[in-house]
Symmetry: C2
Subunit: 454 residues, 2 copies
Amino acid sequence: MNVFFEPKSIALIGASESFKFGYWTTEYLLQSDFKTYPVNPNKDTIFGHKTYKNVEEIPEDIDLAIIIVNNDRVLESVKNCVEKGVKGIIIESAGFAETGIKKYIEIQNEIERIAKTTGIRIIGPNCVGVTNFYNKFTSAEVDFSETLEGKISIIAQSGVLGNIFIDWGSNQKISFSKSITLGNKVDVDEVDMLEYLEKDPNTNVITIYLEGVKRGQELLKIFKKMSKPVLILKNGRSDIGSRAIKSHTGSIAGNDKIYDAIFKKFPNVFRVNDFFEMFNIAQVFANQPLPKGKNIAIITTSGSLGILACDLMEEIGLKLAILEKDTVKALESISPTWTSINNPVDLGPSLFSTFRPALNALFEDTNVDAFLYIFAVPKKPLQTFSIPIMPHMKDMKSLSNKYKKPIITCVFGSRWVVDYFLKYTDKYNIPIMTQINHAIKALKMMYDFKKSNC
Amino acid sequence: MNVFFEPKSIALIGASESFKFGYWTTEYLLQSDFKTYPVNPNKDTIFGHKTYKNVEEIPEDIDLAIIIVNNDRVLESVKNCVEKGVKGIIIESAGFAETGIKKYIEIQNEIERIAKTTGIRIIGPNCVGVTNFYNKFTSAEVDFSETLEGKISIIAQSGVLGNIFIDWGSNQKISFSKSITLGNKVDVDEVDMLEYLEKDPNTNVITIYLEGVKRGQELLKIFKKMSKPVLILKNGRSDIGSRAIKSHTGSIAGNDKIYDAIFKKFPNVFRVNDFFEMFNIAQVFANQPLPKGKNIAIITTSGSLGILACDLMEEIGLKLAILEKDTVKALESISPTWTSINNPVDLGPSLFSTFRPALNALFEDTNVDAFLYIFAVPKKPLQTFSIPIMPHMKDMKSLSNKYKKPIITCVFGSRWVVDYFLKYTDKYNIPIMTQINHAIKALKMMYDFKKSNC
């Protein structure tokens, strides 16, 4: 399976210099250090590289072939790869079982048979393949100037989506390890990838976007074996959604209630509702220590948002930590009369002077297992005062490390304020998000994960 | 009530040149065209303006007094305003009933009595007052260089929050009419403001953030009379949330189930879950025509997100429109084989050439009442191709106007892509959001509103 992420030699079948699907992959790989051979019967050179009529002409062994030719020519290309002794194939071309057209369903079935009988491994068709954020190998359209190396891996059935949420995540400073888009899954599927990622030292948490499952029993087996947390977004809950899935990747969505029941059986497997939630929670799993219990302290600059957080916590089954007497005393000694000395700790406008001592007292409190910091200050005073956000984050990091307690920061208001935090999120390892409900779900899932694994 | 939004003369009691609470209001009002008299016994001039020891010294009638002095000096300032014959007061100072301290509860009660017996109208204490986005009068910290005039008004119990979500909303090009923060509500409350905004020609939709209600019966009566949609975010659903509310604005949250039952009784009143949802939905109400039915067409560049939308639509009670035969034929004639010709209409990578004719055919379809457009394209191809987003939005606007059908656009991916859309959202009047669930809730609420009002 490693051939997909660290190929020593690549054939790019359908390489193209013209602006169409496959252009960026061609341009990126031919200009990279990855040894890439363009294959295109109509060209002598592509981006200055000698171009081969056929994969078999390439004067070297090929680890990985990426196929981006028209759907009618895919089967032939696959056969050529088998002849050549290629180890793995990514078929990006679309237009197979998802069309519902008999001819293309049969071609897909034939490719499936080839994979089974020859042992060649195939990802796709109807996908954009894989990305390795460490060595920067990709068959997709990833802008590595914006991505961060991290511990989150993604398995997505859909091609485009994998890319798009990497675009989004990178803007949020969410850091990735490996991304795999599976498409119609003639061979490699989520079971293979879970097995691979469970062993991958660069992956701490696995996110999956799933439309349908073919190897149900095997999926259950691998779920049972996983030691890493798995976050699953399963579409097609509704009848109309299920029908739409069939024309997207040709999968059968299956009964959603059964999926739900199955996912709940495995303490490492968590179902999420959308991509934003999936990646926000994954980032917390990837970077924060697991909480020892479910008692949360909320530090907030906004009473209202603290209350909203309380509502969400109670609904999900977390508890508001009952602060030790010493903590309350410490908070009283630093708080002006208008701040609340209960949990949620409402620092209000006194934030500047009270944040550090309050945080210290709260981290020391053995009744507190985890933290939610809610920052909501209007832009104008922030800009005038140059509020010390960066030192705040430094404090959070050092206390979180010292006491091994997780802390998540939710930031509200203008983009300028959110960006101020995002600027330092990776340096100080403090997850930043704008949705309190994602933060609270993350704390609950981490608690559940800890309970069942440690 | 108009005195709060269009004051002809203002006394700023506690005006301050030093960097503390009240600084920005002082600076803004004294540099504006609003006739503002600073009051501060310790200063002769503030920002070059003659400063009065007491409001009674001001040689002119005063419409509105804004009080930003320390909590201990508020009662005296209120009494002075009554003597002076001031029409309205905004008390921004905090430190009253929400502290739980007897002395300050009594001061608050005394101020309440003064309002009742003298007829002077008072907003607050513990708030940041009002903002009028048309004449740009504000007692809060609003950066008018970023705000847009619109039809959404906000009633928020909490001071800070009102400001913060205006910061956020303005970045999303959400456009506002009036904002009122009520704080501890000694006099003016949501009932007064609903009455006022129902008659306000610049307000089409009212959003409320509520912690507790004092005049329950009156609120029900005004709900019954409202002809405009009202979106309510009510915090304190949980026990711990309710307790936190008491120390925030001194309100009693009340039994949440009762609130829920009450809100459901009124066809114009809709409960929302958070601020993002509230403003996204309000923007649709404010700018889009109401749908005649609940049959939705989804146009998407991502099959997966189309499926997700289907799931959400079925859950909420909307229907996927069954396209007319002519529409299907028209779509077939323009679509390459790999696009889905069912609803959701998956334009996939063929987006560039097919968007306009597809949109035309779908708007003409009498089975379609409303549209959801899901745009998810990775940044790299977008940047290379310069996809014609702006013309797309122009088309959406003209078709939406012609057929009087609402359309909402959900954009996914990198910030660069979202910004590309946001740049034109107000010009072409197409609501842009990143949460499909908000878009679908908006369509459902608009349908429900239309059904019960037209």
